[in-house]
Amino acid sequence: MSEPSIFFFEVNERQGVFHRRAFLLGGFAGLGLLTLTGRLAQLQLVEAQRYQKLSAGNQFNYRLVPPPRGLILDRNGVALASNRPNFRLMVIKEKGMDVEATLDDLATLVPIDGTRRARLLKEVNNAPRKAPVVVMEDMSWEEFSRINIRTPELPNISADMGEVRVYPFGGAFAHVIGYVAKVSDKDVEAARTDLTQDQELLHNPGFRIGRQGVEKAFDIALRGRAGAIKAEVDAQGRVVSLDPAGDIPATPGKEVRLTLDADIQNRALEVMGEESGAIVVMDCRNGDLLAMVSAPSFDANRFVKGLSGAEYKALSEYERKPLLDKALSGTYPPGSTFKPTVGLAALAAGIDPEIRVNCGGSWYYGGRTWRCWQKGGHGAQNMHDAIKNSCDIYFYQTALKIGPDAIANAARAVGFGQTFDIGIPGQKKGLVPDREWKKRAFKRNPANQIWFPGETPSYGIGQGALNVNALQLAVMTARLANGQKALVPRLVKSVGGVEQPSGAAVPDLPFSKEHLEYVRGGMAAVANDVRGTAYRQSQLGLGDVQMAGKTGTAQVRSYDKVKTRNNASYTWKLKDHNLFVAFAPYDAPRYVVVVIVEHGGMGGATAGAPRAREVMRVALLKDPEIRARIERPMPLPEAPVETVDGVVEGAAPEEPEEGGPPPPQPTTPPAGTPGGHI
């Protein structure tokens, strides 16, 4: 193109346009600067305080000081769960750190093999920024000090002293107290929306969360509140300076005191030996649980560090189920231990206890033969004898007379078919069957909704659909022994010094005192009448302090097609459960012991009663008043001499009858072979 033909006026026009638009451009720039100024005013003048706080939050870092976890004590102040120092070595993840190099540094301090190294590498890489990853725990003091000297020159490595939970009694309290374990992703997720939980504490490497029992139920109270060390830090989290004036001390977790007694609890686990089952000891004056043991148990300390897969497998697959709390979660047919309850129901229904029922060893009803455990029969039985001898025929017929609903009412009144608020989770309700239940339970099958008369006799001897747990048995026995109050159990005595409500502040039982007295008389005879089903096994050897009880056998299978009920030759799994409930002293009841021995064989006296006796002795001897009573000088020179095992079956015994009311004279034929009772 040739020379552009721009005329003068056009040149002027271009200049004019430019000037106007340059003015606009300047306006735009000015507007932009004004906007920036406005924004600055907003940030620096209006919102300054907010940002000053955030800035201080950046500048000062509160390093968390974990609170010591609250102790769990027994009723006398013996520590059941405490803390011990733990020297740890940690890697602190930082942005842009060389994990490999850090691990190389570590390897010069502590032995790290290939697989461990690979695992650590993964852990550190997955950890969030600034989160410490524990490399080693429980270092010796020598190791700890050696590393501590060198940590200043090793970036990202720190050694510190934390605390770790310890259970001094190992397994004895494992089910009640539970254990603490590493925080899982699930816990973090669950805590995210829970404002009462300290999220930062949850992420602290040494922190453990309560997993079972008291540790779980009182977890928040036991945790305490984390403190902090104030430090000025840079963006990399390196401490520039410390500010001790700004430190916040940690608040230790609250102390939880249980009603349990360590001596009784330990003895209870001890007497269980290799057996599987549960023992519950309760104070029948106020409902305090003195022992609650499930056997076999496990060492809760193993869970604190984290159990290996193999260990866990071994525990969970063992047929005696150590991880199951048999005192609360195991339900069993109560067997003959239910007979006093049926007796109470009968008395309440107006049955005269002195009306005798003849036991000939079997009874034909409803198209089948109902057998007594005593093949030869017990002869004519009143209610007292029937409890003492655990006569099945008497209770088959009595149950039929009063019907299932009356039995169910009495069963609920003494504590079956319900859970109690003892502060820890895991109780199974069991089942108290009645007509109403049948309607509900068999919705799909209307034919089964009616209560068949044939179900009632079994109900009378504590079999059939009836299911109870060991705690309920203890409550039942405690209520009978107390004779007045509908006691409820209490496990937690106080939390952080605040006393928990007593189990005695409850209404009275809906039974007359005479009826309760009568049934207790039968239970006394079980243990103290030479012909009682557990006479020999129930002698405490503590002078006039005597025990009353009731034996029980819970069938685990039908015996209709089996010739003999003698369990001795059966494999463990097929043997009957062996139950015994007891209270003592008979004349002024204080302690209740319930023993369930799973597959312990027939008759509560064989496996249950001797164990109950041992535990009862510990409970009684620990009681200073009982002790004073035992040891007081006898007013008469010819004090009765008793031996624990020395009484020969069938031999004429002297009747030790000091104190309480004398049990009615037995009028029944001599008892059969020892043990093997229902």
């Binding site: 056009e10 346009v17 451009l25 600067l33 620096q44 300054a48």
Partner: protein, 385 residues
């Protein structure tokens, strides 16, 4: 001005001493104040030390200041004749970068020639200004308003923008594009076209963000829209910058006492986020001071543009001003959380030689326009048309 009486003689204005006197020294003083403020901040964040930033910053500024004075003496006709060559060389270098450039931080921006590393995109910032000014110098007002001839400036802007965006350096590409647009508008583009373009851009931005941007670029945009969502990740920069600014308050935390910058919470504190450092230590008052300096510099540069007798001079000086203003506004908006994080520094305040060089060469051009404001620039030889 003061010497206007004796300047009517032909050739008198070509005397170096006269030229030297014609330089706008107030303007130069303002530049020194800005660079000095920058050096002060760099001194502070280095823990009251000249090392490693403040000394180099001042040294560079001194060097570029001398260069600016030298460039100011160069006849506007020389600038005019060099406009296209500079542009073409810049374009070729951009292509070369595409082919053989160094990759650093995931982007191909640098070119090394004999051990000297530089970014051709910086040359292009001035190249586009010069080339557009020259092209419009020979264009009638009507053609500049709206005609097929505008395809040429469109191509002049588009080619380098696309090349730079492809490196990818979105910040610089945007800067070049906006500078170019500013010149096109200043030259007299029809308002209708501008309105259409603005509406078109508004429609095109969302799909552009979603489909064309690189992941990290998109992340920055999304982070900008909701910076609090990810405070330790990509929202960290903006978040920490806002904390630094806000915590400064009215009077600031005091010289050397900005915890955000001193303790390294503020990223890129010596370069892109130097303004946040200043805001933290000197507060709202300090910010007003620096923003006022920038405002006056922009105003004076625009004034220089408008007193020029040649259209080339007007457009070149205003183009440089536009670039400078865009630097200030984009960086300011970014630091204050009003714009996404793009690698645009605060000119003269931030540490870093490249941008300072570009800006100072640009101001050399602005001063040359002032010094040669009466010079007749004819589009004789070397014209594109």
């Amino acid at each position: 001005m003061t010497l206007s009486g004796g300047l009517s003689r032909p050739g008198e204005r070509d005397r170096p001493i006269i030229k030297f006197m014609e330089i706008d020294w107030t303007f130069c003083l303002l530049l020194c104040l800005i660079a000095g403020s920058g050096a002060l901040m760099l001194f502070s964040i280095a823990g009251a030390s000249w090392e490693p930033w403040a000394d180099k910053h001042l040294l560079r500024f001194g060097l570029y200041f001398v260069m600016m004075i030298v460039l100011a003496m160069i006849d506007l006709r020389v600038w005019f004749s060099l406009a296209y060559p500079v542009y073409i060389i810049g374009l070729l270098l951009l292509v070369a970068v595409e082919a053989i450039g160094d990759v650093s931080l995931g982007a191909q921006r640098w070119l090394s020639i004999g051990g000297f590393r530089f970014q051709p995109s910086e040359i292009m910032k001035l190249g586009v200004v010069l080339a557009l000014a020259r092209y419009y110098h020979g264009l009638s007002a009507d053609s500049a308003r709206f005609s097929w001839r505008l395809l040429v400036p469109a191509a002049m802007i588009g080619a380098p923008v696309l090349l730079v965006a492809h490196q990818p350096d979105l910040g610089t590409a945007m800067l070049i594009a906006l500078t170019g647009l500013a010149i096109v508008i200043l030259a007299g583009l029809s308002w209708r076209v501008i309105a259409t373009g603005v509406i078109g851009a508004l429609v095109a931005i969302p799909p552009f963000v979603l489909f064309v941007l690189h992941d990290y670029q998109r992340k920055r945009v999304l982070t900008f829209l909701n910076p609090e969502a990810d405070q330790s990740g990509s929202g960290y920069h903006i978040y920490q910058s806002k904390i630094a600014l806000g915590s400064g308050g009215l009077l600031g935390k005091g010289f050397g006492l900005g915890s955000q910058s001193q303790l390294n919470f503020l990223p890129e504190k010596q370069t892109d986020f130097i303004f946040a450092t200043l805001a933290e230590e000197f507060g709202f008052i300090g910010c007003l001071w620096v923003l006022a300096l920038y405002g006056v510099v922009i105003f004076m540069a625009l004034r220089i543009a408008s007193i020029s007798h040649s259209h080339f001079g007007r457009l070149a000086a205003s183009g440089v001003t536009a670039t400078f203003a865009l630097y200030v506004l984009i960086n300011g908006a970014m630091v204050m959380g009003l714009a996404p994080v793009v690698g645009v520094p605060m000119p003269m305040l931030s540490y870093g030689g490249t941008v300072m060089m570009t800006v100072m060469i640009g101001f050399g051009l602005v001063q040359a326009v002032r010094v040669h404001r009466y010079t007749e620039v004819t589009s004789g030889k070397g014209s594109l048309m």
